[in-house]
C-alpha cells in the first residue's frame, strides 16, 4: 500500500467523521423540533409526573446544553444513554441486540445472493439466448420488480401457512430462513443481471478473443480472465447493498416479526425515544459510510487502473 493510498484513506476517514457529526447534529435538532415527546401517551400523566421524568433524564435543560452533553458522552465514553421507553435498558444494549439479528440476517442474505447471483449470471451469459438464459432472465425480472412486502407475504402464505414447513415468526433460527430468502431475492436477481451483462461485455473484448486464439481452455478463460473483470460492477453494487441489507429491512422484519434493528429504529421514532433515535441513526450512518469507504478501496484492489483521488 503506497503513501498516496494511505493519504486517501486518511482523508476519507476525516470526511466520514465529519459526515457523522453532521448526521448527529441534524438529527438531534430535527428530532427535538418534532412535536410530541417521549412521555406522552393516550393517558396523560400529570404535569408533575411529566416534569419529574424530564428532570430525571435531563430533558428540562436548554437544548444546546443537552446537545453538548450528548456529544461529550459519545466522544469521551461512547455512551448513548438509557432508553426513555424501555425503562432500565441502555440504548447500546438494545442496538447491539438488534444489530446482531439484522447482521446475521443481512450477511447470510448478502452472501447467498452474491454466490447464486454471480453463478446464475455467468451461466446465463455463457448460454446466451438459450432456454436457461431465458428462464433466468424471466425469473430475475420478476424478482427485481416485486417489492419485498409482496414477496415476503407470498413466501409466508406458501411455506408457513399452506405447507407449514417453516415458522412464520423470526424469533427462532428456523424462522430466519424465510426472511433471509425474502431479503436475498432482490439483490440476487440484480446481481445475476449485472453479472450477465458485464460478462457478455467482457466476453466480446479483444483479450478474450486473443486467449481463445491462443488455445486457452474454456474454464480458464472464464475463471482466469472473464469472471474477474466482469465483477467490478457487481462490487460497486455489493458494498452499499451490504450496508443497507445489514442495517435492517423494516419491511421484512415487520412481516416476519424479526427482532432486528430496522424495527427498533422505526419504533424509536414513533415513541420519541430520543437517545434511541440518536443511537440507531449514528450506528446506521457509520455503517453506511464505512461500507462505502471499503467498497472504494476494494475497487483499487480489483482493478489497478482505478486511481483513488
Amino acid at each position: 500500500m503506497n503513501s498516496k493510498m494511505l493519504l486517501y484513506i486518511g482523508k476519507r476517514i476525516v470526511l466520514a467523521i465529519f459526515t457523522i457529526w453532521v448526521v448527529i447534529t441534524v438529527t438531534f435538532f430535527v428530532m427535538h423540533a418534532v412535536p410530541g415527546g417521549p412521555f406522552v401517551g393516550e393517558k396523560a400523566t400529570t404535569p408533575a409526573v411529566q416534569a419529574a421524568m424530564e428532570a430525571k433524564y435531563g430533558l428540562d435543560k436548554p437544548l444546546m446544553v443537552q446537545y453538548g452533553t450528548y456529544l461529550k458522552d459519545i466522544v469521551t465514553k461512547f455512551d448513548f444513554g438509557p432508553s426513555l421507553k424501555q425503562r432500565g435498558r441502555m440504548v447500546i444494549d438494545i442496538i447491539s441486540d438488534g444489530m446482531r439479528t439484522s447482521m446475521k440476517l443481512g450477511l447470510l442474505a448478502a452472501i447467498s445472493s452474491a454466490i447464486v447471483g454471480i453463478v446464475l449470471g455467468a451461466i446465463a451469459a455463457l448460454r446466451r439466448n438459450k432456454l436457461i438464459d431465458r428462464i433466468v432472465m424471466v425469473l430475475t425480472t420478476a424478482f427485481v420488480s416485486m417489492p419485498s412486502f409482496i414477496m415476503g407475504s407470498l413466501l409466508l402464505v406458501l411455506f408457513a401457512i399452506k405447507l407449514q414447513l417453516l415458522p412464520a415468526n423470526g424469533s427462532t433460527s428456523a424462522g430466519l430462513v424465510l426472511p433471509i430468502v425474502t431479503l436475498a431475492l432482490y439483490p440476487m436477481a440484480y446481481i445475476t443481471r449485472l453479472t450477465r451483462s458485464s460478462m457478455l461485455d467482457v466476453l466480446g473484448q479483444d483479450y478474450i478473443r486473443t486467449a481463445r486464439a491462443k488455445g486457452v481452455s474454456g474454464p480458464r478463460i472464464i475463471f482466469g480472465h472473464a469472471l474477474k473483470n466482469s465483477l467490478i460492477p457487481v462490487l460497486t453494487y455489493f458494498g452499499p447493498m451490504l450496508a443497507y441489507i445489514v442495517t435492517g429491512s423494516l419491511v421484512v422484519e415487520q412481516i416476519f416479526a424479526v427482532p432486528g434493528i430496522g424495527r427498533a429504529f422505526v419504533s424509536s421514532i414513533t415513541n420519541r425515544d430520543y437517545p434511541m433515535i440518536m443511537g440507531t441513526t449514528i450506528i446506521l450512518a457509520a455503517l453506511i459510510v464505512i461500507m462505502n469507504l471499503v467498497t472504494d478501496i476494494l475497487y483499487k484492489v480489483v482493478d489497478p487502473r482505478i486511481t483513488l483521488e
Binding site: 400523566t45 447467498s112 455467468a122 415458522p167 412464520a168
Partner: protein
C-alpha cells in the same frame, strides 16, 4: 461439451451454497403445538416497555405481571365462571375501620409460605416499600396516581409556585406492623379498593432487587413472588415464564410454561395462529375480521372491554354561523345544542357493521358499558333521559330517521337551510383530526360524508401518533377522534379526566375562553350537600362535583353524583360517543380454562389442552 459440465457443476454448487447459508442457522425447531401439553405459546403485543409492576401502564405488561406477581388480591373465576376479586398474598380482604378524622384504616395479614422466586420470604415490609416507591416523585410512574386514594399521596405531590415539592419527606400512610402485618390508611373509603389491590401497581417488590435500575430487563435479576418466575427473555422476540414451585398455590397451576411471543404486527400474529404455532393472539387485522368470524367461529372471540370510542369537540371552537349575535352563556348553550344535534346525524350501527366490524356496541353515553353501578346493575343502563332507550339518545338503527329529523330541526334554528338541495349553507368548516390509522380514517370519512350530506363541510387531517396526542392535548383542533379505556371498574375513571387541570382534558373545559363561560349549574342539596351553584363556570361546578365525589363515603350517593357528572358532561355535547370497545382475540379451540377480565388482562395459568 465442457461448458455444459461446468454449468451443471456451478448450478449444483450454487444450490449447495445457498442451502448451506440457510443451514448455518443452528436449528432449534419451532415447538409444535400439542406436543408439549404443559406449555402454551401466546402473543399479546410487541416488547413491553417495562415489566416493573410500578412502572407498567400497559395491558400486555399487566397480563404478564398478573402471572409473575401475587398482590394482596387477584382476579379469579368463581365456580359459576363469574369474575371476582379474591385474596392472594393476603389471608383475607378485610373491611376498613373508619377513624375519627374520616380516614379509613385497613389491616392485612399475609399468608404463610409466600416466597420470592429466589427463596426469601415475602414480608409486609416489601409491600410497604413497593407502594412508597410506586407513589414517589423520584420514580414518577405513569400509574403512581393509583395511590391517590391513600392518605399522604397528596402531600407527596404538592408543589409550590416554582414547581418544587413542598414536602420532600412526605410518605404514604402505609406501614409494616411486623413481617406479616400491613396497615394502610386511605384518605376516605373507596368502593374499588379491593380491585386496586389486584392492580399491578400495588404488587410488591423487594428493595434490594429494585436497587438495580435494570432489574426488570433481565431474567437473572428478575425476582418476583407470583405463580410464575421468569425463565428467559430474548428482547423483542420472546419472554418465557415457568411455574414457581415455591408458591403456595403452585399445585393449582396446570400450565408449566408460558411463551409470550413479542410481535405487534397483526398479520404476522395471524400467520402464526393459522399455522398452529401460537394458541392465542391478541390482535387481528381489521380487514380480515369478517372472514375470520366465518372461518373460525369457535376461535374468534369478541368480549366487552370498559372503553369508549368517541369524537371530541374543542369547546372553544366557534361553530356558530358567521354574523351570529349570540354571546356568552347563550352562545355556549347554542353550541351545545348544535353539537348534540350533529351527533344524532351519525349512524353508529353502520360504523360498526361496515367499518369497525369488531362486534362493538353502539354507544349513547360516555361511561362505557361494563361499569357497574352502586346496586351492581350496569351503570350505562341507568343513565340518560328516557325509559325508551339506554343512554342520552337512542342509538338503535330504528331510531335513525327520527334522530335525523330532530337534528335537522335543531340545526335549522341556527343555520340557513336551502330547501332545494336539503343542505345547510352557512355551517363553518370543521377539521377532523385523527392519528394515522386505516380504521380511524375510515370512520372519519364516514362522519365526513354524513355531515356533507346535510351541508356541514368537514376536512380531514391526519397526524402521526405522538404529534396527534400533542395537538389534541394542546387544543389545536376543532373535532378529533378519541378513545378511552378505564384502568379499573369505577365510572370515576371516565369522569375525573374532564376537570380543568387534568392532563387528559382534550376538550379544553375551563381553559382559554371557556374559563370565563358561566353556563353551568350544580345543585347537590338533594344529596345532602350544601352546594348550589347557578350560572357558574366549569371550575366552579364540574371541578367541585368531582372533588365531592372523590371524598364521598356513601356509596349510593357517590354513584348518584357520578350520574350527575356524566349528565353535565353529555349536556355540553362535546362528547359524541361512537361505540363501546370490545377486545378481539383468537384462541385455539383446543385450549380450556382460559379467562380474561374486563380490563383486558388474560390468564393462562389454569389452561389445559383438550384431549385428542
Amino acid at each position: 461439451m465442457k461448458l455444459k459440465k461446468l454449468a451443471a457443476i456451478l448450478v449444483a454448487l450454487a444450490i449447495v451454497c445457498s442451502l448451506a447459508a440457510c443451514g448455518k442457522t443452528p436449528g432449534n425447531k419451532p415447538e409444535e403445538p400439542g406436543t408439549d401439553t404443559r406449555a402454551i405459546n401466546v402473543c399479546l403485543a410487541s416488547e413491553p416497555d417495562t415489566i416493573d409492576p410500578a412502572l407498567n401502564s400497559a395491558v400486555d405488561g399487566a397480563t404478564m405481571l398478573a402471572h409473575l406477581f401475587s398482590g394482596l388480591a387477584k382476579w379469579a373465576q368463581d365456580d359459576s365462571g363469574k369474575l371476582v376479586i379474591v385474596p392472594d398474598a393476603a389471608q383475607e380482604l378485610t373491611e376498613g375501620v373508619e377513624n375519627e378524622d374520616g380516614t379509613v384504616t385497613y389491616t392485612y395479614t399475609l399468608r404463610d409460605g409466600m416466597k420470592w422466586s429466589d427463596g426469601k420470604d415475602v414480608t409486609a415490609g416489601d409491600f410497604a416499600f413497593a407502594w412508597q416507591r410506586a407513589a414517589s416523585t423520584s420514580l414518577a410512574a405513569d400509574y403512581g396516581y393509583m395511590f391517590e386514594v391513600v392518605d399522604g399521596y397528596e402531600a407527596i405531590w404538592e408543589t409550590d409556585d416554582q414547581e418544587n415539592y413542598v414536602n420532600p419527606d412526605a410518605k404514604l400512610n402505609v406501614k409494616a406492623v411486623d413481617d406479616k402485618t400491613l396497615e394502610v390508611t386511605l384518605a376516605n373509603a373507596v368502593p374499588y379498593w379491593n380491585e386496586l389491590l389486584a392492580f399491578p401497581t400495588y404488587f410488591p417488590v423487594r428493595e434490594d432487587v429494585v436497587a438495580n435500575e435494570a432489574w426488570a430487563t433481565d431474567p437473572a435479576t428478575y425476582v418476583c413472588n407470583g405463580l410464575y418466575k421468569m425463565k428467559a427473555w430474548e428482547h423483542n422476540s420472546l419472554i418465557t415464564i415457568e411455574k414457581n414451585e415455591n408458591h403456595p398455590d403452585a399445585a393449582e397451576v396446570t400450565m408449566d410454561t408460558i411463551n409470550f411471543y413479542l410481535s405487534d404486527d397483526a398479520n404476522n400474529q395471524l400467520s402464526n395462529f393459522k399455522n398452529g404455532d401460537w394458541a392465542l393472539i391478541d390482535d387481528v387485522p381489521t380487514n380480515e375480521i369478517e372472514t375470520l368470524k366465518k372461518e373460525y367461529p369457535d376461535e374468534f372471540f369478541n368480549v366487552g372491554q370498559i372503553g369508549t370510542y368517541y369524537v371530541c369537540w374543542n369547546v372553544n371552537e366557534n361553530i356558530l354561523p358567521e354574523g351570529s349575535n349570540l354571546t356568552g352563556v347563550e352562545a355556549e348553550n347554542a353550541k351545545a345544542e348544535i353539537r348534540k344535534a350533529v351527533s344524532l346525524l351519525l349512524d353508529r350501527n353502520y360504523i360498526i357493521d361496515s367499518i369497525a366490524q369488531g362486534g362493538q356496541i353502539p354507544a349513547s353515553s360516555f361511561v362505557a358499558m361494563g361499569m357497574t353501578d352502586a346496586d351492581g346493575s350496569e351503570f350505562y343502563k341507568n343513565t340518560g333521559v328516557s325509559d325508551q332507550f339506554v343512554g342520552y339518545f337512542d342509538a338503535s338503527a330504528e331510531a335513525l330517521e327520527a334522530n335525523f329529523a330532530s337534528a335537522m330541526e335543531t340545526l335549522k334554528k341556527y343555520y340557513d337551510f336551502d330547501e332545494a338541495t336539503g343542505k345547510l349553507t352557512n355551517f363553518p368548516s370543521l377539521v377532523y383530526l385523527y392519528n394515522t390509522n386505516e380504521g380511524h380514517k375510515a370512520i372519519g370519512e364516514y362522519i365526513q360524508s354524513a355531515l356533507a350530506n346535510v351541508g356541514i363541510p368537514m376536512s380531514m387531517e391526519n397526524q402521526e401518533w405522538a404529534t396527534f396526542l400533542n395537538t389534541r392535548k394542546a387544543g389545536d383542533y376543532s373535532v378529533a377522534r378519541n378513545g378511552w379505556v378505564a384502568d379499573y371498574n369505577d365510572p370515576i375513571c371516565f369522569l375525573d379526566m374532564w376537570v380543568t387541570a387534568s392532563g387528559n382534558n382534550d376538550i379544553q373545559f375551563g381553559k382559554g375562553d371557556h374559563a370565563d363561560v358561566a353556563a353551568y349549574s350544580l345543585d347537590l342539596t338533594p344529596y345532602g350537600y350544601d352546594i348550589k351553584v347557578e350560572e357558574g363556570t366549569w371550575a366552579e361546578t364540574y371541578d367541585v362535583l368531582i372533588s365531592t365525589i372523590k371524598s364521598c363515603t356513601d356509596n349510593t350517593v357517590r354513584y348518584k353524583l357520578m350520574h350527575v357528572a356524566e349528565d353535565m358532561l353529555m349536556a355540553t355535547g362535546c362528547i359524541t360517543p361512537i361505540y363501546y370497545y370490545t377486545d378481539l382475540y383468537m384462541l385455539d379451540s383446543s385450549v380450556q380454562g382460559f379467562f380474561s377480565n374486563p380490563l383486558g388482562y388474560k390468564y393462562f395459568m389454569y389452561c389445559t389442552y383438550k384431549a385428542g
